[in-house]
């Protein structure tokens, strides 16, 4: 019998973070660790589909592994639509089908400074990144967000690494964010650093442009819509640097900035 990396696990805990207002809810979901023999790497994700979901929701939903230990796996998610609304209704002890760990992961260089760039829920994988990094003193987080900071696991990170954030309150703030991201990417290029980033596509596009302009090593984690999560449906593709479609779920979600084309 071959291994089955799809399991039903129980919800250990589910709690909203901060005081999110409707439409901005951010939830921490703790699940039993599915006992993956080969472990997991930071940047990888899981597909989640609660056992209770009827057939009106077909697909599982992809979420970054935020952190995990021998007993618990933590996911952070924002309520944006039909599936995440129902995820929020889960209770302790409910069963959730989960398959993973899926996809590629971030590099964790030992002796180079690393800049983590997070846009919104893109902060999720960096909790695990910080926890598992051998030299947190080499890390800095820049965080662009709309809901207030207390709705994110920001405090947990600011206790451990250097942090900086910009809240987007009005449309013009985007320009401030773009300018700051560019400056930071350039700075990390000059000191032979690595940039790791996760967030919405426009945010990643800004980072990619800067990384290519200044010749900086950057790794970007994409959040395309997925059906299977395992490379079978070809629904999640993005363009690679040669203009061919490639699956984000298996070739990514973490890509080198030089490997993909986000402009098309």
């Amino acid at each position: 019998m071959s291994a089955n990396n799809c399991r039903a696990v129980k919800v250990v805990d589910i709690t909203p973070l901060g005081h999110s207002s409707p439409g901005e809810e951010i939830v921490e979901l703790k699940l039993e660790y599915p006992g993956w023999e080969s472990g997991w790497r930071v940047g990888q994700f899981v597909m989640i589909r609660p056992v209770s979901w009827p057939l009106d929701l077909i697909w599982g939903r992809p979420f970054s592994i935020s952190s995990a230990d021998d007993t618990t796996l933590t996911i952070l998610f924002q309520v944006v639509g039909r599936g995440t609304k129902r995820l929020m209704e889960l209770s302790k002890g409910d069963s959730v089908n989960i398959w993973g760990p899926l996809g590629s992961f971030f590099s964790k260089p030992k002796d180079r400074p690393v800049l983590m760039l997070a846009g919104g829920m893109g902060i999720a994988p960096f909790c695990g990144y910080v926890d598992s990094h051998q030299q947190p003193e080499n890390l800095k987080l820049f965080f662009a967000h709309r809901p207030p900071l207390e709705n994110y696991p920001y405090k947990a990170l600011s206790d451990k690494v250097e942090v900086e954030d910009i809240q987007e309150n009005k449309p013009e703030d985007i320009h401030t964010i773009i300018a700051r991201v560019e400056a930071l990417v350039k700075e990390y290029g000059e000191k032979n650093g690595l940039v790791v980033a996760c967030g919405p596509t426009p945010f990643l596009r800004t980072i990619q442009r800067a990384a290519l302009k200044y010749g900086v090593d950057a790794e970007l984690s994409l959040e395309n819509r997925m059906a299977c999560g395992v490379g079978a449906c070809l629904g999640c593709v993005c363009k690679d640097s040669e203009g061919h479609f490639t699956q984000v779920c298996t070739s990514g979600p973490v890509f080198k900035a030089t490997a993909i084309d986000l402009e098309g």
Binding site: M1, S2, A3, N4, N5, C6, R49, L55, D56, L57, I58, W59, G60, R82, N97, W99, N224, R225, A227, C228, G229, V230, G231, A232, C233, L234, G235, C236, V237, C238, H244, F245, T250
Partner: protein, 305 residues
Amino acid sequence: MDMSVDFAGLKLKNPILTASGTFGSGLEFKRFGDLESLGGIIVKGLSLKPREGNPMPRIAETPCGMLNAIGIQNPGVEDFLTKKLPKLPWKTLPVLVNLYATDAAEFGELAAVLAGEEGVAALEVNVSCPNVKEGGIAFGQDPRQITKVAEAVKKNAGNKPVIIKLSPNVTDIATCARAAEDGGADGISLINTLSGMAVDIERRTPRLANVIGGLSGPAVKPVALRCVYQAVNAVKIPVMGLGGIATAEDAAEFLLVGATAVQIGTANFLRPDTAFKIVEELPKVLARVNAKSLDEFRGSLILPK
């Protein structure tokens, strides 16, 4: 209960296969179950030359189903034969190849490439894709074209069974099924996806870049079951039924109306071990409904007097 079936000369350990486009090359699912426990796998549609497919977004979730407009993205038949097929346990797992081309001659050429391939158990001919401008559904809606494609493939396929995959987007499925039989097909499979659409009222845009896509999943099961029922009664060649099958009970419904085998498609996305679970469950379901054997159960639907 003995679950083995003979489908047009193809020996299958059980009647559960996986549908083209929903199971990749098969290798993607190795970590979720024992591939060799399946009756067979049907790989993503292949064309002579690589195809890029349609722009994003290509998929949308709909009530009890999904829309896709992938557009037969594939690396070309050679790439599959050299890179993927050797990694599959094809000696013990029937690997069926799904073919896509834009005219009968090209279908014939593709069949010729595959005819000598030891690892390919049978050819499934897609004359029914709603997501490509050339060929695709246009064939599937014209019975004369279906016959022509079946003839062209059969002529070049050597001794490999040829299965024609039909579209439900027609007024008379029985005529299409007979057209495939007339062209010399060894079997037929149905249904491919139903032509559908979804829009976003906030953005006022279609949800798929291609505007129109193919609907699949539990939502299409009643349509699929009806098509299979009508096709079974129209032809003598065996029929593979698919469309919305998500449980062993669903699979049994298709067998009851006369399908010889079934394929699991979109349900592979509900969880990646769905097909493996259905293989395990089907004998139990048949036993529960007091079937004496698969043969006895198949086509044993009792119609109202």
